[in-house]
Amino acid sequence: MNELRKPKTKRSKRFLESRAPKLTEDVKCAMIMKGGNTSQTITQALKDIYSLKKPNAVLYKKKNITRPFEDSTSLEFFSKKTDCSLFLFGSHNKKRPNNLIFGRLFDFHVLDMIELGIEKYVSLSEIKASKCPEGTKPMLIFAGEAFDIDNDHKRLKSLLTDFFRGPTVSAVRLAGLEHVLHFTALDGKIFMRSYRCLLKKSGCRTPRIELEEIGPSFDFILRRTHLASDDLYKLAHKQPKALKAKKKKNISHDAFGTKFGRVHMQKQDLSKLHTRKMKGLRKRKGEVVAEELKGQPPKVANVEC
């Protein structure tokens, strides 16, 4: 229905264009909000995750009394308002103490939601170490076989990757690879640790890595999940045709990586070839030579290039 109303100013037109679906999408933004009741842990945790995610996140300061697993309409409303497709919702109650809900939306509808309970938490400020600058693209590492086997964990891995990966970049400054987020799945728990990466001399080109914990660190347990159906999940992954690289015709590679090109060419007319002229080979009058050569199909040859 939105297209019925035409933007009246250039500015509003630009704004609407920025919100419209794009071929190559912008960085996903996250909205970080708290529920009706939150504990000190949750409030601090939300703030810390906000500081990890910072340029691409919105921190909601007020309470939002909603339960995402029961009714996601208010989340969808907020996502439309701020144009965010990731959310983090923190709440605390007796049944589910220290609860964090990671989720993402597709087309302003909830795609996945995974609820994680915090068992142990060390905040960013508790660990006294020099921190990474804001907006550093983190290296993400997932360890544990559960991330490869269990369906919930697989989806959680995808969700966390989506949440923390930051902008997609074409190049990265090697000295700027400072931040490591390490997720370990073990005994039904998920340990999230955040380290600063120190590049030490190793004697060869690649440096030796030493890690220093900077926080925040969490021990999570998996609670409720809301996973998208396979159809919807597939639909959300569908890439536009324009983004797919066009297949180049007539070029192939063999096992050794040698490039082959297929060349189409007409049969050469040998009668016009300049050769040594001799009296004996001179064409006689009335002789037909080239007729039989014409009219043959073009020859196809594989040429190495």
């Binding site: 794009k22 999408e25 996903k28 544990g144 990265v172 000295a175 073990l186 640790r193 990466c197 440096p207």
Partner: protein
């Protein structure tokens, strides 16, 4: 003697090389999966929980993270690098992990009625120059917009045409005409949108036009005449006025004798609809609803299973019951949207 020294030297070099590599090489049973575009690594090796208990947990996690990071860094350092403003940057390859999009891919705008017509007729757009010569101002001015050339709204004097009423305000007439053109354009825009969304476009009696044709006027008269309480029955007629053509649809009946198969088919179809007792199905709505239900059920079932393992049963039994009931209700899938139940 010489041969021996060569061998020794080689061995020494090899050892040195190994020594150098030792600090950065990590041994893993299964290789890690890398997605360098996202700076992402996935370690599929089994972690023994015994190891965790033996060592201090934090230390163990850190050493695991160190090894994995080292492997990832090794992989990143293999990429081609270049120097940009005194910083060494590595070119990242494209990402390989499929992640869902934020919004569906943009759809091309469906062609408007004019565009369709133009394509049919082979009419192509011509690029017009931006600047036009203004005869009165003696300068080049824009074709459209602010300070445009030959701007007829800025005329301070308009010649009254001979045929026109001398008391008519020619300025107001121009403004009105412009307003009507804008309104018509807006209407056409809305009709194009409606057509693109497959909404039935209402047929319009009269479109604002500058000059109404004879047919248009006749329609206007007939519409005005029938717009009374008695549907124009007691409306007076002018002398010599032709009776208006009735614009209503006439009922048509099937012939009494003739093709019976169509009649039978129609009746059967009608009976079929009457027999079902189901409300008319909105397919897209129903499918969406069904999908949501299934999701929720699946999630609930999965969670119930998970909770059972940990021995938390008390809270969950009620929920499962509620789910089953709703699944049945969802099948009918009418226009009414049921609210998700309270858990």
């Amino acid at each position: 003697m010489a041969a021996c020294s060569v061998e020794e030297l080689l061995l020494k070099a090899e050892q040195e090389e190994a020594e150098k590599l030792r600090s950065i090489s990590v041994h893993k049973e299964l290789d890690l999966d890398f997605d360098i575009g996202n700076l992402l690594a996935c370690d599929k090796n089994r972690i023994e929980s015994r190891d965790l208990r033996q060592q201090l947990k934090e230390n163990y996690l850190r050493s695991l993270a160190r090894d994995n990071t080292q492997l990832l860094i090794n992989e990143i350092w293999k990429l081609p690098t270049e120097r940009v403003e005194e910083a060494i940057v590595a070119k990242l390859p494209d990402t390989t992990t499929p992640l869902p999009r934020e919004k569906p891919p943009p759809k091309p705008r469906p062609p408007t009625k004019w565009e369709k017509f133009a394509k049919l007729k082979g009419i192509q757009k011509k690029k017009k120059t931006n600047l036009v010569w203004d005869e009165t101002k003696k300068e080049w001015r824009r074709r459209w917009g602010y300070k445009r050339a030959n701007d007829d709204t800025k005329d301070w004097l308009i010649e009254v045409p001979e045929t026109a009423d001398s008391n008519e305000d020619q300025f107001a007439k121009r403004i009105k005409a412009k307003k009507e053109r804008v309104a018509k354009n807006e209407l056409n825009r809305l009709r194009n949108i409606a057509r693109s969304q497959k909404i039935k476009v209402p047929s319009i009696g009269l479109v604002p036009t500058a000059q109404q044709s004879k047919d248009d006027l006749a329609t206007a008269v007939s519409v005005a005449k029938t717009s009374t309480a008695s549907v124009g029955r007691f409306q007076d007629r002018l002398p010599k006025e032709k009776p208006t053509k009735s614009r209503g649809k006439k009922r048509k009946f099937e012939p009494l004798i003739g093709d019976f198969s169509t009649e039978r088919h129609k009746q059967l179809e009608l009976l079929k609809i009457m027999d079902t007792k189901k409300p008319k199905l909105d397919i897209t709505k129903a499918v969406n609803k069904q999908m949501r239900e299934e999701d929720r059920e699946e999630a609930a079932a999965k969670h119930k299973r998970g909770a059972g393992k940990k021995g938390r049963k008390g809270n969950m039994s009620g929920k499962a019951k509620g789910k089953g009931g709703k699944g049945k209700g969802g099948k009918a899938g009418g226009g009414k949207r049921s609210k998700p139940g309270k858990r």
